[in-house]
Symmetry: C2
Subunit: 686 residues, 2 copies
């Protein structure tokens, strides 16, 4: 649908200029210089030709074929110009001009005007305040930025124009090829999600990369991103992670699943690989475009020197990869072929005296070994053979195997030729061997996501579906949870001491007594929870203490909750929260009062299936403990997983519950169940 932005039949440049210092000149120059093959129509009232192209006084004078207009006129003239384009029958426009919502209130109004013209005339707009588009295969370059990357497999969509300029410059220096590059500007028309779809549908783009500061619609993004990830690798760099952290709200569920966590959960769910830096993003993209995914996490390292290999091994281990245990055959073979002092265990060190021939033998043996899932080849600088010859060998041998190979031909001054050979052979190279680790970890992450991606959540029957809406609006959390199949311990709300005594007799000692008041959220902090009450005397004492605590905290005591006291289990937290962007989030972690201090919480996107629930739980220390730890017996992990899925379903079905948190969920030993002890939540009418 967005093809004319990348494969236009003819391009009009409205605001084209003869002045080589103006942007309107640069666009015409780039179209010509980077060999756009279709007609170029500069629109400029006062010029007859620009760079040899005939000028037109107005867009209405431009002849066929023309389906794309690049607009670089003063911001106030943009809406009218866009209207003229619409009247001329042009349905695709890149608005380069700035002076819109990025400049304040006046600009915001102008952008609204731009939007309504675009809607009215049915024009797809990229921008305003953007740099434009590049397609290296067409080729077409509608930007004014000097330089054009080589044709390649990486598509890049950016919410920052500066990042596009930086990437173009960097790509030229690093010799990394791109398929499409697009700067989205203020996104008055086309947004990041639509562009991801376009990159997903582009056959020249083998890997999608994106610089994302925010998404326009979380749900749409999740859908598109997942569809894209299933088709090709998608690597994102999220800007504003720290900033979002600072905006963490006071409520602690909020603090734990703030916006940065929501993005992380969304990326993880939809198979998007989240890079930490620009360098990582393109390191990963290149490897994903060029090399097959590893079948597992066992890596072999081949080197001609110890030190650099040790650094690579350190980094690989830190990134969660493991050193492959080589087969007996491989080791014997290597022992018979390599120098006597060489190390034939992984990392395999052929020593400084070995050249491309020895590397070839070892490469082939390691790639043949079935215990090896991926190979890292390191060459420390030496003077006696050309690095280019090793590059040829690595490219050739890697080409006949179906395992990923990453090279680290080290150095800077002496390896240019080797790098261009490796690039031709599609072997990624990094100057410092430590960088291989995050690359392979990202490839493995994708491999795992692809093998476990399954979209359908597990859904449960809900008792009393008619009543649930009313439970929610009245914030009657106990009834709501029970309707969703989540158990509460035997308990009763009471208003007087006498009722409490009767209730405790019914439930059976030991019991817990909890203050009910309208104003207190963290009851334990004011002494509003009395545990381990063994008998009537204890209950009376506890009641009186609650009354004291309430009056000390200046809150009214509406009554108390009498609850069966459980023991021999562990405390976890299960929470849900509506995220502005991605809708319902689910969180799981260590419960009790330590929740904030330990930061042992994992966040996911609702709804969940059992695999997703397991992944969430297994990411936390609380989850590890459920499998049994020291003297603690195995917890009822099955029930926890089920409750997580049930809570996720609840979050998905009742989006007006802005947050709901069970803390603690008391988990008894395996087979004995789990009980929601404390529940806090907020219902918000739309």
């Amino acid at each position: 649908m967005l093809d004319p932005f990348f494969k236009p039949k003819g391009v009009a440049v409205i605001g084209a200029s003869r002045d080589p210092h103006k942007l309107g000149h640069g666009v015409v120059r780039n179209l010509k210089e980077y060999r756009y093959q279709g007609p170029i129509y500069p629109v400029n009232k006062r010029a007859s030709e620009i760079l040899g192209e005939q000028c037109f006084a107005s867009i209405s004078d431009v002849p066929d074929p023309v389906d794309l207009a690049v607009i670089i006129v003063p911001s106030k003239a943009v809406p009218d110009t866009l209207k003229e384009c619409g009247n001329r029958g042009i349905r695709y426009s890149i608005v380069v001009s700035g002076g819109f919502s990025e400049t304040g209130e006046e600009g915001r109004k102008l952008e609204e005007e731009l939007k309504s013209v675009a809607d009215e005339m049915n024009i797809n707009v990229i921008g305003p305040n953007c740099i434009g588009t590049i397609d290296t295969h067409t080729p077409v370059n509608t930007t004014f930025v000097t330089g054009m990357p080589e044709p390649g497999e990486i598509g890049f969509s950016s919410q920052s124009g500066a990042m596009v300029a930086a990437v173009i410059d960097w790509a030229r220096g690093a010799g990394v090829g791109f398929s499409r590059i697009v700067s989205l500007g203020n996104q008055a028309g086309i947004n990041e999600t639509q562009m991801i779809e376009a990159l997903c549908d582009d056959s020249q783009t083998e890997v999608i990369t994106a610089y994302i500061e925010g998404v326009s619609d979380g749900t749409a993004f999740l859908d598109s991103a997942e569809r894209a990830s299933l088709k090709k690798p998608f690597v994102a760099l999220k800007g504003g992670r720290g900033e979002s952290g600072a905006k963490a709200v006071a409520s602690h569920t909020g603090a734990l699943a703030g916006s940065a966590e929501a993005y992380e959960a969304a990326f993880k769910r939809s198979g998007v690989l989240q890079a930490g830096t620009m360098e990582e993003m393109f390191d990963w993209a290149r490897a994903l475009a060029w090399q097959p995914l590893p079948e597992g996490n066992k890596v072999a390292v081949l080197t001609n020197a110890g030190g650099p290999a040790i650094l690579a091994v350190d980094a690989l281990e830190k990134a969660g990869l493991e050193m492959a245990e080589l087969s007996k055959e491989t080791k014997e073979y290597l022992r018979s072929r390599l120098p006597k002092a060489a190390s034939v265990s992984n990392p395999v060190d052929v020593l400084a005296g070995s050249g491309p021939g020895t590397y070839a033998v070892a490469l082939d043996a390691l790639l043949t070994d079935e215990h090896v899932d991926a190979l890292v080849v390191i060459q420390a600088p030496q003077d006696w053979f050309l690095p280019a010859s090793l590059a040829e060998v690595v490219g050739e041998v890697a080409g006949v195997h179906d395992k990923p190979v990453i090279a680290s031909i080290m150095g800077k001054a002496s390896v240019d030729e080797a790098l261009s050979i490796l690039h031709k052979r599609k072997i990624p190279n990094v100057a410092f061997p430590e960088r291989v680790a995050s690359i392979l970890a990202a490839m493995l992450q994708r491999k795992e996501w692809l093998s476990t991606a399954r979209n359908e959540p597990d859904l449960f029957g809900v008792a009393d579906r008619k009543a649930i809406k009313s439970y929610a609006t009245r914030e009657n959390w106990p009834e709501l949870l029970e309707a969703y199949g989540i158990s509460l311990p035997p308990q009763e709300e009471v208003s007087t001491k006498d009722e409490a005594l009767k209730s405790a007799a019914k439930i059976g000692y030991p019991v817990v007594l909890k203050l009910i008041s309208d104003t207190v959220t963290h009851k334990t902090e004011i002494g509003g929870v009395k545990m381990g009450i063994e008998d009537e005397d204890g209950l009376i004492r506890a009641w009186n203490e609650l009354e004291d605590a309430a009056s000390k905290a200046n809150t009214g005591m509406k009554g108390a909750l009498v609850q069966k006291m459980l023991s021999g289990g562990s405390e976890v937290i299960i929470g849900i929260r509506q995220d502005e962007q991605f809708g319902p989030l689910v969180l799981f972690g260590t419960g009790g009062t330590d929740v904030e201090l330990l930061h042992d919480v994992a966040t996911g996107i609702a709804p969940l299936n059992s695999m997703q629930a397991e992944q969430l739980v297994d990411k936390t220390v609380a989850g590890a403990k459920l499998k049994g730890w020291r003297n603690q017996p195995e917890g009822d992990r099955e029930t926890v997983l089920e409750y997580l899925m049930r809570m996720a379903q609840l979050a998905d079905e009742l989006p007006n519950i802005s947050e709901l948190e069970i803390n603690p969920l008391y988990v008894l030993p395996k087979g004995k169940g789990a009980y929601a002890i404390d529940i806090r939540g907020t219902y918000r009418e739309e």
Copy 2:
């Protein structure tokens, strides 16, 4: 003392060769090509001259002056050659030849022979199996590696020859200057610690960098490293961190304070900045050599584009730095000078239309603002002014202020000239803005270390000093701890049920009963601990249960410990361990059975002063909790700090205790003390 390795009066090359492919040729070539000004004496029986230098048949024929011999002869000839050098009066030798301990048993013997000749003849040896030395200021280059870095301020000592070769090649490409570079090889003579001393004493070296796989003597290293760090910045890259992790021993104190942790603690103690990668090491070194240290952690970011600044801010926050809050005056001034739509809050965005002039104004204002401790300048690629002109402006303005400035003139293809200007002006530049974060964090770490470095530990009087040795050898930990002023709860060891009843009556209920047996280390796991015993009936029940537990676990019950039961506090762990390299380590963290799961443990080097103890405690969640958390009252942090120092003193004074661990140390609320509940340890005769 090691001066002749870097400023020789004359150099003999024994094993010099006419064959340009031989190492013995490369050394002569490098001496000549990189302009060594003293006499060069190739020693070769069969040649009359090499590269225009007269050859000598034997080292004894070489005339004065000569104080350094570079030896590249077959390994078996090395001892005799070295002896000839000694007879000729040469006291400094670089043995390049390989074929020693790196090749196995035979080589190891040869290396021993080399060592004894060196000792006998009083020769300082670098190597064998090394690459040699470079001093760019003398200049002298005794290596055979092509290329010579520019003169600069960074000294580099490496336990890997390949890393030296890689650094030489990388330095040439990156334009980073070095003062001295040395490859230490097998360290038969000069070791890493002696070389650090030499770099510390070298006036041309302003920053020490080192690639370290291990240290020869931990205590000597600590001393030298601390002395060096006080004089100049010292950045180390440790190889083999992951590997060490894999060697973690079964005992859990060992697992928590394994060798990698010991190195980390040693580096921290002695002010050594531990880099994570090669790139980081030299990023840091350059900034430390060129820029002043920041006074605090408040950073201002100046940019011409939003995206790259956001990525820098994310990275800065993640590294623990904070965004400076600009003063009202600064903001007003910027508002009056910058374009209308510019952001005058930090990060300050001058927008894409601003050039070096606007940058200059903003730079000066930000560096003048007293709330700003450090400045990051970002320039996203643009086409309308030369990056070199911005480089001049940054260099000039930064030069009149005394705050660190790090630049990120982005891009690769178009910024070479700008980079050489920045280098000339001593402003570090990184291609990706995220990299500024770790640089500034390292500078700040040094600043903090320098301001808190204080060598003297706090020492305590020890009661009963005569008896302590006998407590230790008998592994009588309770008596030993009490002698060192660490309290135990009221408790008594008993052998029979009757004794237990009497003892409990004396101590007062509630009590805890703990199994005593010779074979069980983790008592709780077999049910060997009974808590909360309220009365005689309970005690009898508990005793019988312990007997059952002991027989189920197939261990004999020697008796039990009756202990006062404490409540209302929290559990921490304090441990000491003798490290092979660095001697006594102290560890502190979350106690109880969660210790391994949470990994909430910090490790330091004993002995400690109060500042060091505080730093250790404050690094952990357990430490944060001691300051009061939610409903938990403030713990007796003072006592914990004191006990840590006392334990550290104990570790220092009794090195035969290979490990000793208090877990839990039960910490009561502020002012109420702390008690060693469970103690495990091992005494090892030498």
